[in-house]
Amino acid sequence: MRNAKRWLSIFLVGTVLAGCLTACGSSGSNDNQEETGQTNQDAQQTVQDDTSENQEEAPNTEGATIRLAHLYDPGTGVESEKRSYEWLKKGSENFEANNPGCTVELEYYKYDEMDTKYMSDYQSGVEHDVLITTSMLFPQHFQVGDLLDMQPYVNEWEQSEVDEFAWNPVWDICSNDGGLYGIPLGLHIRGMIYRKDLFEQAGLDPNSPPKTMDELLEYAQKLNNPDENIYGLGMYLGTERANLECSFYPFLWANGGEIWDAETKQAIFADETGVKTGQFVKDLVTKYGVTPQFAISGGYGDALDAFMNGQYAMMEGFGSYWISNVVEAGMEDNVGICAVPDGSNRFSNCYSLSIYAGCEHPDLAMKLIEELLAPDVITMYADGGLPARRSDYEDAQYQGALYSAMLEIANDGRNVAETVNYMKLADSVAAAVQEIIANDGDVQEVFTRYQDEYNARYAGE
């Protein structure tokens, strides 16, 4: 019995030691992956060699699995999520049919966490292949080096095919030092949407939306009726980045301000223009009451729900990706879209398809991307807002008033601050905006505090 105990304990110790040694071994191999991954330029060179020299030493792709990281959860019940997921499935099926033996594995990530996840995974040696990426976070991706240059592959395309995608302003955002790190899947642009029925009720001309900031406030006050649960100007001011991108930025840009100075590489949202804009947003909630205080909580999508339910007469930050919701609800004729002030800049972005720098089969990854971008497949994608392919605009469905208005706004589309710390900067501005409303704080003091805090860490990058 005693011998049995002794042998059992020796066996247990041996098992743990073997486990530790195995773990060390696998972390070693991760280190190797990291090393190979970090030499991004070498990887790019490999891609060039592969494509130009007939892939003499191409890795064995038989039975390869391509992991496709995405953000679409069909279980949410949201129609656009379902349709976008169908698009992924269709592209994957076509890829599997055209590349026998290869399979596609879908990996879901939350939209506002996926890019950070790719970057951290890259640094810790976790593998992916094809990624859906967020355009405004490309500066950060460039710094980390987790994306592969797709330019050598695109060089193989027909010029007409390149032109189909290269018209998009996001194409430039995806480019860096002559390389291309993402292919835009559409064009997201935001404007102000308004309900014509509520305009008529308030004695306003539904075909004449406000054109200046003063007019916007005047209209919002006329439309405002909190007793009936109707607010003049709805928007999202919560903790998500949409607070800055869809609500604060349009007013700041209209005032001629910026949140970040590219020359000094410092946050500047507490300057005179920033404070003026902050005060305007705060007054909309606390002084005029045309925007409800609950705008600072919940999610970005809640603002759309409130608009569709008739709680908001006008809504700032309406995305082109929501037009289908309006059309499906049969509200197309009851709404109008514009930019206030007329001709002001609007944040434009979209999701893009990229290849992970640590991808084992970049050729196959590119083939999967091409399947997803095929003319009959990309039309299934429901989160593009505006179509990615230029030729798709000739389709009758994009000739309607709402799409035309959005396309017009898209002419003034622009990117957000191109800093590697964009997420932290956006969160700082969002938190500052929330605080001035929630605590009735002094705009100058609160903005300066958040700005100084950001600059103490990230100024000069």
Partner: protein, 303 residues
């Protein structure tokens, strides 16, 4: 007599490091010790090492500590964490004690309801946070609507700094209360009825019974439950992040939430580790205080 002493010595020898039984016991403990070293000590040392490096892995001395500890926002995080811990521990222990007294009563109704009390503790924290968020939603939440129906006012609980903090504290109390109640109830059932009967014979009032019998006899249970709830609350990032994301502004951004944001949202591991180390120090201070208080009480009792 000599024979007896030899027997004692041989007993001592057997119970030392050299005896076969002891060696076997140490051998059995070795896998666990190795696991502890591999999964706790090594990551902790690596973490401390990372705290002295920048994002590129260069040694920066106390630079990260200076950066984090020099931020007013961080000290606000610490202040909120302490408020969160103190309020939650007080609420959970006081109400947990009262409830423990109730559920140890012999009543059919109490026995039937006992499993129900555990529901908040069983529900995963993220799920219960989402449940609370839905209930307290400022626009569509049933609680908000009910308050409006009664008072005629729009009370936006999660949209105001003070009420948001109260909501986060209440949510955590709601979760940790069943654990405190159950643990203390276990302690209460261990006290012999004879002790109380003797006290009644001596003419001790209910209050005196509580302070001189109940409290000293459940002291060990109380110490463990306070320590555990303190650590859970201090380290709770998931429920708070799911409920408010630290907002509005940074009104509910406790140290654990900040640690989560820095490490896993912004991927700034080097500063995240510094926050983690500070949090560990706070945990140790709390544990030391509780331990010291318990020991001091023990000494008083002996004296």
């Amino acid at each position: 007599m000599k024979f007896h002493m030899n027997q004692e010595r041989s007993k001592e020898k057997k119970s030392g490091w050299g005896s076969k039984e002891s060696r076997l016991a140490y051998l059995f403990m070795t896998p666990l010790l190795l696991c502890l070293v591999a999964f706790m000590v090594v990551p902790m040392i690596t973490g401390i090492q990372i705290s002295f490096q920048n994002a590129k892995g260069d040694f920066v001395g106390l630079g990260n500590y200076h950066l984090v500890l020099g931020e007013p926002r961080f000290w606000n995080n610490v202040r909120l964490s302490l408020t969160y811990v103190v309020c939650n521990v007080l609420l959970s222990i006081v109400l947990g004690f009262l409830a423990a007294n109730l559920i140890t009563q012999k009543s059919k109704m109490v026995s039937m309801l006992r499993p129900l009390y555990l529901i908040p503790w069983i529900i995963p924290p993220v799920s219960s946070s989402i449940l609370f968020r839905t209930l307290l939603d400022a626009n569509t939440g049933p609680v908000t609507r009910l308050i409006k129906m009664i008072t005629g006012k729009n009370v936006m609980i999660l949209d105001q700094a003070k009420t948001a903090l109260l909501a986060v504290i209440f949510h955590n109390f709601w979760r940790s209360f069943p654990f405190a109640m159950l643990f203390l109830a276990a302690g209460l059932t261990m006290i012999s009825k004879d002790v109380y009967e003797a006290a009644i014979v001596d003419g001790a009032s209910k209050v005196k019974q509580f302070f001189y019998i109940t409290l000293p006899l459940v002291k060990n249970h109380l110490f463990i439950v306070i320590l555990m709830i303190t650590n859970w609350t201090l380290q709770d990032s998931e429920s708070c992040y799911s409920l408010t994301k630290g907002g509005p502004g940074t009104a509910t951004e406790m140290v654990a939430v900040r640690l989560f944001k820095d490490s896993f949202v912004y991927f700034e591991i080097h500063t995240g580790v510094v926050i983690g180390i500070v949090m560990m120090c706070i945990s140790i201070i709390f544990a030391a205080i509780y331990y010291w208080v318990t020991k001091a009480k023990e000494m008083e009792t002996y004296e």
